[in-house]
C-alpha cells in the first residue's frame, strides 16, 4: 500500500485573473517533513489552500491517500487525517482553552487516539496554566500554541503549519519550533510554511522553494543549508 498522504498534480490556481500557481506538483509521505519556503506572494499558502479545498484550483488534481479529492470539501480532507494550522490562528475566542481543545478531540484515520487532552497539556504546559481562560485572553504565542494543540487533538497523520510563528517575538518562535521538533519526532508528517528557512530546515528533512507559483527547488534540507547562494537567490531579503 502506498504511504502517500497528500499529492498535487499539475495544479493551476487563479485569484481572479491572476495566475498564482503554475502547474505545481507536490507530494508528502507518511512521516515526512517538508519545509515549504519562498518569499512573500510566491504561492506557498495558495498551494496549501488549493490542496485543502479552501481555494479551488482551475486545473490539476489533488489526491489524499490516493483518492481524488480535487473537488472535495475541506472537512473531508480533515477527516482523512490532515490537520491545518492556518495563518492568523483561528481559535474560538469565547471558549476556554479546555473547551477549544476538547471540541477538537477525535480519533485518527486508523482509530488512533495517541494525542489525548493530557498529552497536549504535557506538550504545551503553558496551556495548562491558562486552562480556564477564554481564547480572547491569550497572548499571540499562547493562541498559536492552542491552535497547534487543537490540531493535534484530531490525531492527524499530517500537520500543516502555515506561517505558525508569523508576528511572534523570536523567543516565542524558538519555543514553538522546539515543540514542533518534538512533535515531528512522534512520526507525524509535517508541512511547514515559514520565512525562517534556518528554523524550518532544521526541523524538516525535505525542502521545497516556490518562486512565482513554480517549484524551483525540491530536495533535501541539507542541500539548502549547505547552499547559501540558493538561499540568497530565492529566500534572501
Amino acid at each position: 500500500m502506498s504511504n502517500m498522504l497528500l499529492e498535487a498534480k499539475e495544479l493551476h490556481t487563479y485569484y481572479g485573473a491572476s495566475h498564482i500557481l503554475h502547474g505545481i506538483d507536490f507530494n508528502i509521505r507518511q512521516g515526512e517533513g517538508i519545509a515549504l519556503m519562498g518569499r512573500n506572494g510566491m504561492g506557498k499558502s495558495t498551494l496549501i489552500k488549493s490542496m485543502l479545498g479552501i481555494v479551488r484550483p482551475k486545473h490539476g488534481r489533488v489526491l489524499v491517500r490516493g483518492d481524488d479529492f480535487t473537488k472535495a470539501p475541506t472537512y473531508r480532507t480533515a477527516q482523512r487525517g490532515i490537520a491545518y494550522v492556518p495563518e492568523g490562528r483561528g481559535i474560538f475566542p469565547n471558549l476556554s482553552v479546555r473547551e477549544n481543545l476538547q471540541m477538537s478531540a477525535r480519533a485518527g484515520v486508523d482509530g488512533q487516539r495517541e494525542w489525548t487532552f493530557e498529552r497536549v497539556m504535557a506538550t504545551f504546559p503553558r496551556l495548562g496554566e491558562r486552562i480556564n481562560n477564554g481564547g480572547w485572553q491569550l497572548s499571540g504565542g499562547e493562541q498559536q500554541m492552542l491552535t497547534i494543540g487543537r490540531a493535534l487533538m484530531t490525531n492527524p497523520d499530517l500537520l500543516i503549519l502555515d506561517e505558525a510563528t508569523e508576528g511572534l517575538a523570536p523567543l516565542i518562535a524558538m519555543e514553538i519550533w522546539r515543540i514542533v521538533k518534538e512533535i515531528r519526532k512522534t512520526g507525524i508528517a509535517t508541512v511547514i510554511v515559514d520565512k525562517n528557512h534556518g528554523a524550518v530546515t532544521s526541523i524538516c528533512d525535505r525542502a521545497m522553494i516556490l518562486v512565482k507559483g513554480e517549484v524551483v527547488f525540491d530536495g533535501s534540507s541539507d542541500e539548502v543549508r549547505a547552499n547559501p547562494e540558493l538561499i540568497q537567490k530565492h529566500l534572501g531579503v
Binding site: S139, G141, L171, I172, M174, G198
Partner: protein
Amino acid sequence: MKQQSLEIIHDEHRALAAMLNGLRAIAAGIESGRLQPDYALLADMIRYIDEVPEKLHHPKENDYLFRLLRPRCPEAVPVIEQLEAEHAQGDARIAELRAALASWQQAGAAGFAAFHEVLTTYLDQEWRHMNTEEHEVFPLARKHLTAEDWAEIDAAFLANDNPWQGAAGEYQALFTKIVNVAPAPVGLGG
C-alpha cells in the same frame, strides 16, 4: 557534505539571537515605562547567555572549527584571532553585565540608565560577533575545510549530545522558563 556542526552552530545562534532580542526589547519596554523591572527574569536571561553561549558554544568554535580552519585558510586568521579574543573576553563582559544589574537593583530607577548602557554595548558586540561568524568565517570554512576536517568537527559536536539543551535538559528548561515569564509580546508572561 552535510557539515552537521555548522547546522548546530546556526541553531545555537538562533537561540542566542532570540535571547538577545528579548533582552533588548525588555530593556526598551522598561525605558519607555511600559514594563516594570523584573530583576529575576533579567538575571535568568543573563545566566542563559553566560552558561550556554559563553561556556558551551564558544569553546566548541575555538577548539574545533577555528583550530582546523587556521592552517587551511591563512586569510581567515585575522578574523579568527579577533573572534577568539572576543570569546576570551566573554566571562569579563558577562561579569560586567551582572554587576550592572546588581547596581541597578540596589540604586533603583536611577540605576537603570547605567545598566541599559552596559547591556546595549554587550548586545551590539554580540550581534557583530555572530554576524562576523555567519558572514565571514562560515563561508570560508565551507570553502576551505576538507571532508576529514568536517568529519572531526562533526564528531566532536555530535559526541556532545545536544549540549544546547544541557545534559539533563536544564538549559532547555531555563529557556522555556524565560519564555513563560518574559512579558508579552516578548514572551508569554503577563
